[in-house]
């Protein structure tokens, strides 16, 4: 009887350790959820010729079309991870930005050094907050379209996610 109790106790401790390790393993990768973008209108949508890559390369930065990518990043690991950079074939570059409201005044600033995702926490890239800004978008984006975005994390490495265009 005493042996059974000991076995039970050992099994219980083993399960606690397993579950504990599973919950806070430093090796677990970040999880990306709800990736979406807003539509981007271009001259092509009003019947004119689509803007070619070459054309965009010749444009001044300020004349380029911009877009956005939002998502939720969940970090199940016991150590922080950092979103370092992102890229996509549909635009020239992607930068991490943050909108900051001071009263009714909206400021947008580039986030230097990446975005840290604390252990066992989620960080939302959402309207009026953190977001990925696409610069030099090469094609119009309509509701329902999807396109791949590559995210580079310090620990989780690179991962490709699909962004869905919606309002």
């Amino acid at each position: 009887m005493g042996g059974l109790k000991l076995h039970f106790l050992l099994f219980f401790l083993f399960m606690v350790l397993i579950l504990g390790c599973r919950k806070s393993s430093p090796d677990e990768k970040v999880m990306i959820k709800e990736v979406w973008s807003r539509p981007v209108g271009m001259a092509a949508m009003s019947g004119e010729a689509d803007s070619s890559h070459a054309h965009h390369m010749n444009m001044k930065h300020g004349e380029q079309y911009t877009g956005v990518v939002y998502m939720t990043i969940q970090n199940p690991a016991s150590t922080p991870d950092t979103l370092i950079s992102a890229e996509s074939d549909i635009c020239e570059r992607i930068e991490l930005h943050q909108s900051i409201m001071k009263g009714d005044q909206m400021f947008m600033q580039r986030v230097e050094g990446g975005l840290e995702i604390p252990p066992q926490k989620s960080v939302a890239l959402k309207p009026g907050s953190y977001h990925l800004m696409m610069l030099g978008v090469r094609k119009s984006l309509k509701e329902g379209d999807t396109f791949p975005v590559t995210l580079h994390f310090q620990k989780s490495g690179s991962m490709i996610v699909e962004s869905k265009v919606r309002y």
Partner: protein
């Protein structure tokens, strides 16, 4: 007799309250909305007073903005869809805070994906500065010295509502849900009849 007078007073009081039951920020001393003449996304002149008789939603933004400005346009799109009647009695007016980049063509490209009926306005820097001043709109260009074309523009993100008589009545902070805006627009639309 006194009882009847009290009852009538109560009914009037309740009636007035329900008419003014706005959810947005109400102007405490409503004044006529300052008039302006600008250029729309099709190159046509647009004078605010020409849409007298309509309720006007007014927002100041720029097409290069990836976040807050398109988020507001997406809310407007929802507002448009939720307006049960009188869609044509509401004008959605978007005034640029970035006239150097926001040409009529650029405004047209940007607005058409949200709703072709939204009105995008631009003009000369001088014309627009007067409008910003009249509506107390904060506009501040933040130029990156290494990439002077890639500037951002900090700006007031609140939207304004002008009633059918041309009076500036309400405003909404950024992030106000479409339902709240529709609720208040319906009150203002009911004043037209």
């Amino acid at each position: 007799m006194a009882k009847w007078a009290f009852l009538i007073f109560l009914i009037l009081l309740v009636g007035c309250q329900s008419r003014e039951n706005f959810q947005g920020t109400v102007m405490t001393d409503p004044q006529p909305a300052p008039d302006f003449l600008l250029q729309d996304q099709f190159g046509n002149p647009f004078r605010l007073s020409d849409v007298r008789g309509k309720v006007v939603l007014l927002f100041f933004g720029y097409t290069w903005c990836p976040d807050v400005c398109p988020a507001t346009l997406a809310t407007w799109r929802q507002v448009w869809e939720k307006l049960p009647q009188g869609k044509d009695d509401v004008k959605f007016v978007y005034v640029t805070v970035d006239p150097e980049r926001d040409t009529p063509e650029r405004l047209r490209d940007h607005l058409q994906v949200f709703n072709e009926k939204f009105i995008g306005l631009t003009g000369s820097r001088e014309q627009l500065e007067k409008v910003y001043q009249d509506y107390h709109i904060f506009v501040d260009k933040n130029i990156d010295p290494q990439n002077p074309d890639r500037y951002t523009v900090a700006h007031t993100s609140r939207m304004f509502v002008i009633d059918h008589r041309g009076i500036l009545r309400l405003s909404f902070s950024f992030g106000t849900p479409a339902e709240t805006i529709v609720h208040d627009l319906n009150i203002l639309l009911s004043e037209i009849q």
